[in-house]
C-alpha cells in the first residue's frame, strides 16, 4: 500500500536543509576565493577519495546507537602502525599499501575490542567517552612510538628512527607509496589545460567497502545493529547479545578507520608521526553531519555529500578569508569553527530531543 509521495520542492529543501546550507556557503566561498575550477576540482576529488573511507567508518556505530565514534583516532593509529611497519621494511607500491592494511588489521581488531569493551561500560555516554578514550590512546600511542621503538620494537631504519636509536622521528616520508593506489589505473582529464587526476582504483576500493557495508546492513548482524541502536533493553529481551553487537560495530568502525587512514596517507605522501591522526574523528564527524546525518541516523548519501561539501568549504575558506578580510587565518579559523560548531549543534539537537522525549514520557497529555 505504498503511495508515491508528491515530491514538492519545499519538502526537498526542508529535508536537505543542512547540506543545502553548506552547498550555498561553499559556493559563495568559492566565488570569493577566485580559485580556478580545475584546481578546485582536483583538490575536491583528492579529498573525497582520501577521506571517504574514514567518513564511512562512522556509519556502523551510528546505526548501532553509539553515536559519532570519536574514538576513530584509535583506528587511525592502527593504520599508522601499519605504515610504520612497511616503512621499516622499506616496502612500497600498491603491495606496500596492501601490506600495511594487512598489518593494521589485527591491531585494529584488537583496538576495536578494547574500545567496544570500554564503551559498553559507558552506555549513554559513548561520545564523550570515545573522545576522551581517543585522547588517552593518543598518549599511549606516543609513549609506544617514542619509547618503545628501538627498545621493545626492533626498528632500525635510520630514515624514520631518531638519531639516538630510540623513538620515531616527527615526520615520515611515504613517497614509496604516494599515489600508488590513486594512480594504479592512471586516468586524468584535461580541463582548461589543467590535468585533473581521478584516482580510479581508490574510488573502486571505496565502492567495494561501501558495498560491504551495504551488504552487512542486509544481514542478520545488520538487523541486530539497528535493533540495538533503537533500544538496548528490548533487544536484550528479544535475545540479542547487546554488548557483543556493539563491540562488533566498534571493531568494524576501527578497522575501516585504520584502512581509511592508510589510504589518506597514501594520497598525502608524508606522515606527521605524532599528529596526522589527531583530527580524524573531528573532521569525519563534521563531514557526515554536514551531509545531513544525525547522531542516530546516517547513510552513504550523507557520507558522500558531506565529505564533498565539508572539503569544498575547507579548500576555499583560507583564500576566501584572504580575499574578503585580507587574512587567510580568518578562513582557517572559520572552517575549524564550522567543524566544531556543526558537531555541537548536532549533539545539542539530539540531546534536546532526548530530554523532551523523557519529559513527555513522564507527563504526556492530560487528556486522552
Amino acid at each position: 500500500m505504498k503511495t508515491l509521495k508528491k515530491l514538492s520542492l519545499l519538502d526537498l529543501v526542508k529535508k536537505n536543509s543542512v547540506p543545502l546550507l553548506f552547498l550555498i556557503l561553499g559556493l559563495l566561498g568559492w566565488m570569493a576565493s577566485g580559485q580556478p575550477l580545475p584546481m578546485l576540482l582536483q583538490e575536491v576529488i583528492y579529498r573525497l577519495s582520501r577521506n571517504l573511507i574514514l567518513v564511512l567508518s562512522l556509519i556502523v556505530p551510528i546505526t548501532a546507537g553509539m553515536g559519532l565514534n570519536f574514538a576513530l583516532v584509535i583506528g587511525a593509529m592502527a593504520g599508522q602502525f601499519g605504515l610504520v611497519f612497511i616503512k621499516a621494511l622499506n616496502m612500497g607500491g600498491v603491495g606496500g599499501v596492501g601490506m600495511s592494511m594487512l598489518f593494521a588489521l589485527p591491531l585494529a581488531i584488537l583496538f576495536g575490542i578494547g574500545c567496544g569493551a570500554i564503551l559498553n561500560r559507558a552506555k549513554g555516554k559513548e561520545m564523550i567517552t570515545g573522545l576522551i578514550l581517543g585522547f588517552f590512546a593518543n598518549g599511549l600511542y606516543q609513549l609506544v612510538l617514542l619509547a618503545g621503538v628501538g627498545t621493545i620494537i626492533p626498528i632500525k631504519n635510520p630514515e624514520i628512527v631518531l638519531a639516538a636509536g630510540v623513538g620515531l622521528r616527527n615526520s615520515m616520508e611515504l613517497n614509496l607509496i604516494n599515489y600508488s593506489l590513486d594512480r594504479l589505473i592512471p586516468f586524468k582529464v584535461i580541463i582548461n589545460n589543467w590535468p585533473v587526476w581521478v584516482p580510479i582504483a581508490t574510488f573502486m576500493l571505496i565502492g567495494l567497502i561501501a558495498f560491504a557495508i551495504h551488504f552487512l546492513q542486509r544481514t542478520k548482524l545488520g538487523q541486530n545493529f539497528r535493533a540495538v541502536g533503537q533500544d538496548k533493553h528490548i533487544s536484550e529481551v528479544a535475545g540479542i547479545h547487546v554488548d557483543r553487537t556493539r563491540m562488533i560495530a566498534m571493531i568494524i568502525s576501527t578497522v575501516l578507520a585504520a584502512w581509511g587512514q592508510i589510504i589518506f596517507m597514501q594520497n598525502i605522501g608524508k606522515m606527521q608521526t605524532y599528529f596526522s591522526h589527531e583530527q580524524v574523528g573531528l573532521f569525519s564527524a563534521a563531514a557526515i553531519l554536514i551531509g545531513g546525518a544525525t547522531i542516530t541516523k546516517a547513510n552513504f548519501g550523507n557520507a558522500i555529500v558531506g565529505t564533498l561539501l565539508f572539503h569544498l568549504l575547507f579548500i576555499v575558506s583560507p583564500l576566501a578569508g584572504k580575499n574578503l578580510f585580507g587574512d587567510a587565518q580568518i578562513g582557517e579559523y572559520f572552517r575549524s569553527f564550522i567543524a566544531y560548531g556543526v558537531i555541537a549543534v548536532a549533539i545539542v539537537m539530539y540531546a534536546m530531543k532526548k530530554a523532551r522525549a523523557d519529559k513527555a514520557e513522564s507527563a504526556d497529555s492530560m487528556v486522552e
Binding site: A122, K123, I128, G139, Q142, L143, G167, D327, I343
Partner: protein, 356 residues
C-alpha cells in the same frame, strides 16, 4: 603464617585507602612517592619542586574550584568551563588595553570579568537545562566551538595596545601576550616567602585559599544546601519546593564566573595570556585534577579541590626532570600529562556504570 601477615596487612591498607580515597588518588600518590624517591636519588633540587608545585597549584587551583558548583548543582564535570576561560581572557585583554597595572589592576580586571562571564554563564546554563542527561558531551563541544569562534574574534577585535598586537605585519592579537608590565605575578611580587633560595608564591596561594574558604562557606549557606540537594537528587529537591532548573543555572553561572577568575589567576601566575587555540583543551586539566582529588561526577568537597590540584601538579612537575634524566630524548612529560589526565577522566566515565 609469618609470611602472610605483612602481605595481608598491605592488602588491607590498600583496600582501605582505595575505599576511602578512590583508585586514582591512591595510585597517583604512590606514583608520586616513587618519582620523589627517584628524584632524591638523582640529586634533584627538592625545594625547586616544592616551589614549582605550589606555583602551579596556585595557578590551576581556581579553575579546579570552578568545577565545584557544576558538580554540586548536578551538571557534572564542566568540560565547558572554557566559556568562562574565554570571558576571562577577554576581560584580561580589556585590562591590558586600559593599561591597568599591579594588584589593583588585576582585581579591576576580575571585576570586568565577572559581569561578562555571568552573562555567558547564564546563557550556557539555560542551554544545559535543555539537554539534561547529556550535559558533558554537549558542554565539551560547546566549549570547543566557542574557542574556535573566539579565534576569529581575536583576529578582528579592535585592540590597540602594542603589547597585544603584532609589531610588524600580522593582523589581530598576538598568540601570547606578556603580562610582565601589567599584572603578571603581582600578588607574589607583593607577598612571597624565601624557602631554601626559592620564592614561594604566598600572595596567589592566599588568593586561592580565600576563594576556597568562600566556596566552603557558600556550601554551608541555605543557598549552598539548596543547590546541593538539587544536584544530588532533583526529584527530592522538586518535592520540597526547590526550583531545580534555577539551581542548575545558578551553579553553571557560578562555575563559569570562577572559570573566568580562574583564567585570570592562571595568567597571573604564568605571566602570559595564551589566545586562539590555547584554551581548547584547558578544561581537561581542572577536570582531571578534581577527579584525582577524589571527587566523582556527583560528589565533591573543597578538600578534593586542594588535594587533587596539588597531587596532579606535583606529579607533573616532578615527572619532567626525573624522566628526562632516565630517558634523555623525547617529550615525555607531555605524554605523561596526557595519559594521567585522560586516564583519570576515562576511569570516572566508565566507573559510574552504563545506565543514566
Amino acid at each position: 603464617m609469618t609470611m602472610q601477615n605483612p602481605l595481608k596487612l598491605v592488602g588491607k591498607a590498600w583496600a582501605g585507602s582505595v575505599d576511602r580515597f578512590g583508585y586514582p588518588k591512591v595510585i597517583i600518590f604512590l606514583f608520586l612517592i616513587l618519582l620523589s624517591v627517584l628524584a632524591i636519588g638523582q640529586g634533584q633540587s627538592m625545594p625547586g619542586f616544592i616551589k614549582d608545585t605550589l606555583l602551579r597549584t596556585s595557578m590551576i587551583g581556581v579553575l579546579t574550584l570552578a568545577m565545584v558548583p557544576g558538580i554540586v548543582s548536578g551538571i557534572g564535570l564542566n568540560f565547558g568551563v572554557s566559556i568562562g576561560i574565554l570571558a576571562g581572557l577577554l576581560a584580561g585583554c580589556i585590562g591590558v588595553e586600559a593599561g591597568w597595572k599591579g594588584v589593583g589592576g588585576l582585581f579591576l580586571t576580575i571585576l570586568v570579568a565577572i559581569p561578562l562571564s555571568t552573562i555567558v554563564g547564564m546563557a550556557y546554563g539555560w542551554l544545559l537545562n535543555k539537554v539534561k542527561g547529556d550535559e558533558m558531551t554537549v558542554s565539551t563541544y560547546i566549549g570547543f566551538s566557542m574557542v574556535s569562534l573566539m579565534c576569529i574574534f581575536w583576529l578582528i577585535l579592535p585592540f590597540k595596545s602594542p603589547t597585544m598586537i603584532w609589531a610588524i605585519g600580522g593582523k589581530g592579537l598576538r598568540n601570547t601576550i606578556a603580562l610582565d608590565n601589567t599584572f603578571g605575578q603581582v600578588m607574589d611580587k607583593a607577598l612571597h616567602l624565601n624557602f631554601f633560595g626559592q620564592q614561594l608564591p604566598i600572595g596567589s596561594l592566599l588568593w586561592f585559599g580565600f576563594l576556597c574558604l568562600m566556596m566552603w562557606l557558600f556550601l554551608r549557606t541555605k543557598l549552598g544546601v539548596t543547590m546541593s540537594a538539587a544536584g544530588d537528587n532533583p526529584r527530592f529537591a522538586a518535592a520540597i519546593g526547590i526550583n531545580v532548573d534555577r539551581q542548575r543555572m545558578l551553579g553553571t553561572t557560578l562555575s563559569t564566573v570562577l572559570g573566568a577568575v580562574g583564567m585570570l589567576s592562571y595568567a597571573h601566575g604564568y605571566g602570559f595570556f595564551q589566545l586562539y587555540v590555547g584554551p581548547l583543551y584547558m578544561p581537561f586539566i581542572p577536570v582531571a585534577a578534581i577527579l584525582i582529588g577524589g571527587a566523582t561526577m556527583r560528589r565533591v568537597t573543597i578538600s578534593h579541590v586542594i588535594s587533587g590540584t596539588i597531587l596532579m601538579q606535583a606529579l607533573l612537575i616532578i615527572a619532567l626532570p626525573v624522566i628526562s634524566k632516565l630517558v634523555p630524548d623525547g617529550a615525555f612529560s607531555e605524554v605523561i600529562r596526557i595519559i594521567v589526565s585522560n586516564g583519570v577522566i576515562l576511569y570516572a566515565l566508565t566507573r559510574s556504570g552504563g545506565n543514566k
